[in-house]
Structures are given as structure tokens and as C-alpha cells.
């Protein structure tokens, strides 16, 4: 084999601490290397041309580029060598930047390490084989998980582009957190007025198949061809018949259920439609509260239902859908305010979360939009808003900023002053974070026009005194301790990842960070992609953000799916496992360890059983390779002899 080596200087990134010229010179002494040079920016267009020219001039059959991590530019160089007529797998990238030049300042040691790394790449390349990918058709249907505003936007954009969409929503209605909001910042437009039409669009769009009150059970397959199992949870109501008339909810005698939609400020019935604009507007029975399902007596809803839709014997149902791409828009949950014992959330009825206050402000909420405090229904005269409850606080494992609280506090305080001009609003803040379009102006308006009193500093303690709450804290600008007698305390609870986010990530085989937010493929340049091809992200499941950003991401994810589906087939990765049937002893260990179900039994004509790899399902993780006792399963492009060649080069 005739091998060419290109050592990249990467400006000073590599050349600053590695003698690239020496590395190139030494590479010429390695077996089969007939050409070696160093170059300023190998990934640049002239750099790639240089490689292609060398292939032609020197008749090169394999290329080693010593540069950055293959995660950065492997695809670039593979394309370059392919254009020059080589097989793309006759290329090896030696990482002398992240693994070498960036690690140490010792130029001498770095140069030795870089040379060794190049040598390993050369030795592996000498035993590389050309590999060829095949084409598989793409199933042009998309699954959207989560029916909040991000998921709704993604689903509508996909459907408008002519794609068939399957939407799965965990709750009995779509709308997500936005449906609970009264108004939105910075325009104070009514949340349900702008979200409602979009929800209706989802219901009416023939391209969108909605599974509400359903969850993802399992996901298998790969980009272009996913198989998704969906658990349709038992609603105990036949939704094909239910008209959403609501008579059952009026008659239900079990009225003490936790009202999730109203954040527990009110109670609700065992058979329930969360809110009037629910999509789909269908009733669901809570089996834990239903008198018939718990005690065996009642069936009142069954009697009053005119369309006879009640089904007490309903069971969960598993449905299988085939899709080509998945958009994950599973949203978030809110920090449990009771973690801060000093604020008394969950202990004092008039210390409430901001989402609870949002329901109090809402005309469709438990108080009909009249601001009344939960304990005695009195109109508050003094309200204290406490920011950063579960944000920017490492002591509760929430060191990040929730990105929306400063803005929603300004909105809620503005709304309060608008509804009750005599009510004093105080906001305790650490810093005001208002970096969006018209955001800072909005906060200023709250302070200057609406007279909301902001003080910088933390509240240390809230305790009841008579029917008041005493809020003790520090004003760090005045350098003084302050005490406010409040009627109501609103805690600006931060954003945390949705319940069950980690489990879903594992089903989808995507990564998540230590707080349960899903990891994008690149924090700047691939913000809606994941590292699992064909799975995209939208909204707060990826990290805290506000409505405009969530909608933007929803549209971005939809356009990524459109882009993927603009082709009819997709190239498979040939770097997958393969079985040498002559060596396979049929022990089945590989079948047990494969996390993707990519290996199955195959019976030969003589009746013996051998392992068989489903190439389109295999992800090339190599677990089977490591497990196989006779080493009959090999991972293409990472075969034992290839790995050993590299290791031997280092230790020989």
C-alpha cells in the first residue's frame, strides 16, 4: 500500500506545542509511507485539494491526517479522499490536538506522542479494507413526542410540509405548560388566545394523528426506519363516542381529586376534562379516585352519559407505529418549592408557586381571575415575589438559570398592579436577566410605570404572624436587613427536567446531562440534533428557554426532518458487526448483550444455529465483538487485527 501522511498545524493550535514538521519527517520512515508533509489548515479547501493532488501525483492508496478529533473533521476528510477516487474507509485520522497539543505545553513530549499516534494510524490503515454502504428507503412519517407549544409547532410545520405526523402526548390534552399560563411576556397577550388556534389546528389537520393520554413504551430501529410502541393508557371512556359535553364531570360525586391543571389550588372530579379548550376535549377517569373503580359502587357517569361512552373494563393498549424521524419535545417540570424549608412552600397556604399564581390570575382559573389568596380568599394588599427558587443555587443541585423567571415575575407583578392598583408588589431578585427582544423594556415598565418595587438580595425566611406572612431578607444595595409584612408570597420556582426524561432518553438512545435535559449534538452548531441520527429536539426538554425560543426550536426541528425526508433513501453505515459463520459456536452471548436487538439466530442447512447481524439495525457499538468467546463477531473498520496493529505499533 502507498500511504500519504498529512500533519495539520491547525494554526498554532497544534504547531504551537507540537513540531509538526518533525512528525511529518518521522512519518516517512514508517512502513508503506511514501509521502508526508505538514500543512497550515488541512481541513481548509486548499488543504483538501493538497491531499487530492498528492493522491494523484504519488499514486496514494491510503491517507492519514494527523489533526483534530475525528468527531470534528473525519467526515470532511473522508469526502475529500473519496472525491480523489479512494474508498472513504482507506482513511485514518490521528488525533494530535484534543489528545495531544491541547493537553500539555511540553513540545518535546508532545512531538513524540504525536509521532506515535501517527504511527498507530498508519499501522491500522495498512490492514484497512474498503467498505461500501448500501441504501435503505426512508419512511417519511415523523413522530412528535410531547404536545406542548414546541411539539405543536414542530407537528404543524411538518404537516404543512405534507408529512404524516404521529403526535404522542402524556396528558389527556395537548397544550403543555403554556395552556396553564394566563398571559405571556413581553406583550401581555393572552396565552390561550394565541395557543388555542394552534391546538385546534393540530386536532383538525388530517396529516396529524394524535395519541393523547399515551406514552412511549419502546423505540427500536434507526434513522429512516424507527418502530415505536405507544402505550395508550386506559381512559375508561370510549373517546370515539365521547362528545366532551361534560355532564359526567358535573354529576361525579368524587370531587376531591388533585387538580393538576390548576396546580392543586382546587380539587376536581374523578372523571374529568382538564379545561374547556382541551384538545381532544374528552373525559378521563382517574382510577385512583373513581368510586366504582376503588369501592365497586357508583357508576353515575355511566348513567348520565348520553352516548354510553363509559368503559370501566378498559385496559392499557399498546400500538405500534412506524416512522422515519422523531422530534422530542417533552418539556419540563417545575422545581418543588418545599425543598426550601425557610420559605415554607407547601406548609403555609399563602406561600405559593408562580405557576399557582398564574392559575389565580387566569380568568379560567379557580378564582375566575380575581386575585385572592388561597387561605381565606382575601384580596392581598402586599405580595412578595421571590426569584431564583431552585435556580442558580448549587446547594439544591440547580446551578443553572431557568431563563424565564425574571420575565414572568415582571409579568405577574405588572398584571397584579393592573388588577389591584392598591396592592403593593415587591420583587426580591439576585440579578434581573432580561436579554430578549423588548424584554428589558418590559421589566423597566413594571418598575417605572407599574410601580413594582424591586430590591436586590435574598429572602432568608418567611414565617406567619397572625394572618400575615413576615418576609425577612437582605437588601444588598442598601446594605440593610428588610422585613415585609405580606399577605401572599409567590415563589418563582425554576425549571427542571420533566419527570421520566431520563427513561425516555434511554428508550430513544439519546444523551442527557446531569440535570436530565437532553443533549444536543453541538451546543452551538447543531442545537436541535442529537447524537442519535434521526432524533431531534425541540423546546425545554433540551434546556430552559421561553416560548419564542421553544417555538423557534420546534420549527427548526421540523425543517431538519423535512431536510432528511427530502431524500428517498438513506445511506447505511457499513461500520457494523459481521459474523464469521465458520468460527461462530452458536453460544448466543452476542444476542444477549446487543442493546439494539440487532443480532438474531440463523439456522444453516445442516441444522446448526449461528448468529446473524441485521446490518440496518446494528449501531456498531462493539459489545458483541468484546463478548464473543471465539471472536467470530468482528466490527468492520474496528476489527481485532486492525486494533492490534495499532497497539502493536505503540508497544513493538
Amino acid at each position: 500500500m502507498r500511504i500519504g501522511v498529512f500533519v495539520c498545524r491547525c494554526g498554532t493550535n497544534i504547531a504551537g506545542t507540537v513540531d509538526t514538521e518533525a512528525v511529518a519527517r518521522q512519518a516517512l520512515s514508517y512502513p508503506d509511507v511514501v509521502y508526508a508533509t505538514d500543512y497550515m489548515y488541512t481541513c481548509s479547501e486548499p488543504g483538501q485539494k493538497e491531499i487530492q493532488a498528492a493522491i494523484k501525483t504519488h499514486g496514494l492508496q491510503g491517507i492519514v491526517v494527523a489533526a483534530c478529533s475525528p468527531r470534528m473533521h473525519e467526515a470532511t476528510f473522508r469526502r475529500a479522499v473519496e472525491k480523489a477516487g479512494l474508498n472513504r474507509y482507506m482513511f485514518e485520522q490521528a488525533n494530535i490536538r484534543e489528545h495531544c497539543s491541547w493537553v500539555s505545553n511540553d513540545k518535546k513530549a508532545n512531538t513524540i506522542k504525536a509521532a506515535d499516534t501517527v504511527r498507530m494510524a498508519v499501522e491500522k490503515l495498512r490492514v484497512n479494507e474498503p467498505l461500501f454502504s448500501s441504501q435503505v428507503p426512508i419512511n417519511k412519517r415523523v413522530l412528535v413526542i410531547g404536545g406542548g407549544v414546541a411539539g405543536i409547532q414542530a407537528a404543524l410545520d411538518c404537516a404543512d410540509g405534507g408529512l404524516d405526523v404521529v403526535m404522542v402526548e402524556r396528558e389527556s390534552t395537548i397544550g403543555g405548560k403554556m395552556a396553564k399560563l394566563d398571559k405571556t411576556f413581553p406583550t401581555i397577550d393572552c396565552s390561550s388566545c394565541i395557543l388555542g388556534p394552534k391546538m385546534v389546528d393540530v386536532a383538525q389537520n388530517e396529516k396529524i394523528k394524535l395519541y393523547a393520554y399515551s406514552e412511549i413504551e419502546a423505540v427500536s430501529g434507526y434513522i429512516g426506519n424507527f418502530t415505536v410502541q405507544i402505550r395508550k393508557k386506559a381512559t375508561y371512556v370510549d373517546w370515539n363516542l365521547c362528545t366532551g359535553c361534560g355532564v359526567c364531570t358535573e354529576k361525579c360525586p368524587s370531587k376531591k381529586s388533585y387538580d393538576k391543571f390548576n396546580e392543586g389550588l382546587a380539587t376536581t372530579t374523578a372523571i374529568n376534562i382538564p379545561f374547556p379548550q382541551a384538545i381532544p376535549k374528552k373525559a378521563v377517569i382517574d382510577p385512583k379516585a373513581c368510586l366504582y373503580l376503588t369501592k365497586g359502587k357508583c357508576r353515575l357517569c355511566e348513567k348520565v352519559c348520553q352516548v354510553k361512552a363509559i368503559r370501566f373494563d378498559m385496559k392499557d393498549e399498546i400500538i405500534t407505529e412506524e416512522v422515519g424521524a422523531i422530534i422530542t419535545a417533552t418539556g419540563y417540570d417545575l422545581f418543588d418549592a418545599s425543598v426550601y424549608g425557610e420559605y415554607g412552600g407547601g406548609r403555609y397556604p399563602d406561600v405559593i408557586s408562580a405557576m399557582q399564581y398564574e392559575r389565580i390570575l387566569s380568568a379560567a382559573g379557580p378564582t375566575g381571575g380575581h386575585i385572592r389568596r388561597p387561605s381565606d380568599g382575601k384580596e392581598p394588599k402586599d405580595i412578595v415575589f421571590i426569584s431564583c427558587v431552585g435556580s442558580r443555587d448549587p446547594s439544591v443541585c440547580r446551578p443553572y438559570c431557568s431563563a424565564v423567571c425574571c420575565m414572568y415575575i415582571a409579568k405577574q407583578a405588572t398584571m397584579t398592579r393592573d388588577h389591584l392598583p392598591d396592592c403593593n408588589c415587591y420583587v426580591s431578585y439576585m440579578d434581573i436577566r432580561a436579554p430578549g427582544k423588548n424584554y428589558d423594556e418590559f421589566v423597566r415598565r413594571a418598575q417605572e410605570e407599574y410601580g413594582v418595587q424591586y430590591f436586590r438580595g435574598r429572602v432568608g425566611k418567611v414565617y406567619p404572624k397572625g394572618d400575615k406572612l413576615i418576609v425577612q431578607g437582605a437588601d444588598t444595595m442598601l446594605g440593610a436587613q428588610i422585613e415585609i409584612e405580606a399577605d401572599l408570597v409567590v415563589l418563582a420556582t425554576g425549571i427542571e427536567s420533566a419527570v421520566g426524561a431520563e427513561e425516555l432518553a434511554e428508550k430513544l438512545r439519546i444523551s442527557y446531562d446531569q440535570y436530565g435535559f437532553f443533549m444536543e449534538s453541538h451546543p452551538k452548531l447543531r442545537p436541535v440534533e442529537t447524537n442519535t441520527a434521526g432524533v431531534f429536539l425541540a423546546g425545554v426538554c433540551q434546556g430552559p428557554k421561553d416560548i419564542p425560543a421553544s417555538v423557534g426550536q420546534g420549527s427548526a426541528a421540523a425543517s431538519k426532518v423535512q431536510m432528511l425526508f427530502s431524500r428517498d433513501t438513506i445511506e447505511t453505515d457499513p461500520q457494523v458487526a459481521m459474523v464469521n459463520e465458520l468460527m461462530c459456536v452458536g453460544c448466543g452471548k452476542c444476542i444477549d448483550v446487543c442493546p439494539f436487538g440487532a443480532i438474531q439466530w440463523k439456522t444453516l442447512r445442516d441444522g446448526s444455529r449461528k448468529a446473524q447481524v441485521l446490518e440496518s439495525v446494528c449501531q456498531g457499538c462493539g459489545l458483541c465483538n468484546a463478548t464473543c468467546p471465539p471472536k467470530a463477531i468482528q466490527l468492520r473498520h474496528c476489527k481485532d487485527d486492525q486494533v492490534l496493529a495499532a497497539v502493536n505499533a505503540l508497544y513493538a
Binding site: Y340, G341, E342, G344, R347, S395, K461, Y463, P464, K465, G466
Partner: protein
């Protein structure tokens, strides 16, 4: 019988001797053998740590090393939260700078010894149920609020006990001995600590609001597990009244005294008469309250 090394600390020798007596008596009644650390010395307190943290750590560490070497015990209990903080600080200092620490200490030390408070001993080691079973004179109908102060549960990663902002261990112990325990809003608010010596108005204000909150909660008495808090709330109650123009007369009693009484230990042994604000009214039993 469970054996635990006992470090009383200086306050419990004199100003808070009733805390020491009642701790010993209660532990004995509950089957915990306290072995006083022989030849124990000062925990270092604030001055030594202000001068040199390593020295402060070693001073407290000496006592842990004796418990480990001479007594062969792995748990050291001290009723004083300040001493507890010093003992725990010694472990941290040892972990941070083991060589320098051992050099000053000049005796073997492995660091495998755990300092706990008397509250932690009663709540976690003995257990609420074991105490409930041994109650002879329940405090039925008595409304008592628990006051934890600042150090027993904080800082959380240091104290490693109960909830830092809303602790409940003393609440549960009080309930176990039959008392009625209303929610107490000021259970962890600062009493003013040693400002009682230098800045009386600070203690007047801070301790005053604790007493006020207890009165509002309908408490007949406040119970606690810190002799510094006890001093401010009890000994200085007159000063607080003068400062705030109030007339509080709330008995401030150690949790060990209350449990001791419930277990049938006599008032003299528990040092009830050592309290400044008379607490006798708490123990006037109607005959019907007697259970045996």
C-alpha cells in the same frame, strides 16, 4: 448496652451542668453507656480557629484520637453544638492536611470516628419508638415548641443531620413523650449567640422575636439542645424583657430534661431547679396523667 464516647465540653461542667446531668441520666435510662473521654481538653472553640485552623482542628482532634486509641469507640457524642462543630471540623482538617495534623497531634489517629449530638443520638441511634415505650409520665396536654438554633442542623453538608431549614427531630421526640407540638416558625432563627456578652441589644431583639413567636404559637415552654441558646433564652430573658418592654416568662428547658422527666427520673437529678425561669408548672401532674 450500647457504648458511646462522651465529650461534655466546658459549658456542661459549670453554666450548663443540668444539661450534662440530664444527658447522662437519660442515656443511662435508655441503655446507652456514656464513657467520658479521659483527660479531655478544650475543643478549641472560636479563638483557636481564628488564630490557626490547623491548631484548632488538632485541639479538637486530640479528643477524638483519645476516644479512638484509649476507648476503642467509633462514635463521640457531645451535647454542645459548638463542640460538635469543632469535632467535625477536626475531621475535615485531618482529611485536608493529614500529615501536618498528625504532627501536631503527636499520637496515632485514623479519622474513623464520628461525632454526633445528643439529639442525633436520641433520634437516630436510640429512636423515637424506643423512647415512647419507656415513657412513664407523659407530658399530655403540654404545649411545647422545639427550638433548634443555628448549628444543630447547619451547614447541612457539615451537620449531616435532619432538615437544615425545617428540622423535625425534636418535634418527633416531643410527640413521643406526649407533648402537643404546634408548628414553630422560628425553630432555626438565630438567638444572637455570643453577642449576649458584647452587644446586648442584638440578643434582645433576636431572642425577643423567638420568645414572641413561641408565645404566639401558644407554647407553655421552649425546649432546646444547645446551652448557648438556653443561656440567651433563659438567663437573659429578663434582659430581653427590659430591652423590648415585654413580660415573657417562658420556661426554657433542655430536651434531655423533658425526656428524663417523662422516663421517671427525679427533678433533682435532672437539675430542673437550675433553670432561671421556673419550669415547675410543666410538671404539675394531674393524677390521671400517670401511666405505668
Amino acid at each position: 448496652m450500647k457504648k458511646i464516647a462522651y465529650y461534655p465540653g466546658c459549658s456542661l461542667e459549670k453554666t450548663a451542668c443540668e444539661y450534662d446531668w440530664s444527658t447522662r441520666a437519660v442515656c443511662a435510662a435508655l441503655g446507652v453507656e456514656l464513657v467520658e473521654i479521659p483527660n479531655w481538653t478544650c475543643c478549641g472553640s472560636t479563638p483557636s480557629n481564628a488564630y490557626d485552623p490547623l491548631l484548632g482542628g488538632a485541639l479538637a482532634g486530640r479528643n477524638l484520637a483519645i476516644a479512638e486509641n484509649q476507648l476503642g469507640l467509633d462514635t463521640v457524642m457531645t451535647p454542645c453544638p459548638s463542640c460538635l462543630k469543632s469535632l467535625k471540623g477536626a475531621l475535615k482538617t485531618y482529611q485536608k492536611k493529614p500529615e501536618a495534623f498528625l504532627k501536631i497531634l503527636d499520637m496515632p489517629f485514623s479519622g474513623n470516628v464520628r461525632p454526633i449530638s445528643v439529639l442525633q443520638l436520641l433520634y437516630e441511634e436510640v429512636g423515637v419508638e424506643a423512647i415512647r415505650e419507656k415513657v412513664i409520665y407523659p407530658l399530655t396536654g403540654r404545649v411545647i415548641v422545639p427550638y433548634y438554633g443555628c448549628l444543630l442542623t447547619r451547614p447541612p453538608e457539615f451537620a449531616d443531620f435532619d432538615d437544615p431549614e425545617n428540622p423535625i427531630s425534636m418535634d418527633k421526640l416531643l410527640e413521643a413523650i406526649g407533648a402537643t407540638v404546634p408548628y414553630f416558625s422560628h425553630k432555626t432563627e438565630c438567638c444572637g449567640a455570643s453577642f449576649g456578652v458584647t452587644e446586648k441589644p442584638v440578643v434582645g431583639k433576636l431572642t425577643g422575636r423567638i420568645l414572641e413567636a413561641a408565645e404566639q404559637a401558644g407554647a407553655e415552654a421552649i425546649t432546646l439542645a444547645c446551652q448557648m441558646c438556653q443561656q440567651n433564652l433563659d438567663l437573659r430573658q429578663g434582659q430581653v424583657n427590659k430591652y423590648g418592654n415585654t413580660a415573657f416568662k417562658i420556661p426554657i428547658i433542655y430536651i434531655t430534661q423533658l425526656i428524663g422527666h417523662a422516663l421517671g427520673i427525679d427533678a433533682k437529678t435532672l437539675g430542673i431547679d437550675k433553670l432561671i425561669v421556673n419550669a415547675d408548672s410543666l410538671f404539675e401532674h394531674k393524677p390521671s396523667a400517670l401511666r405505668a
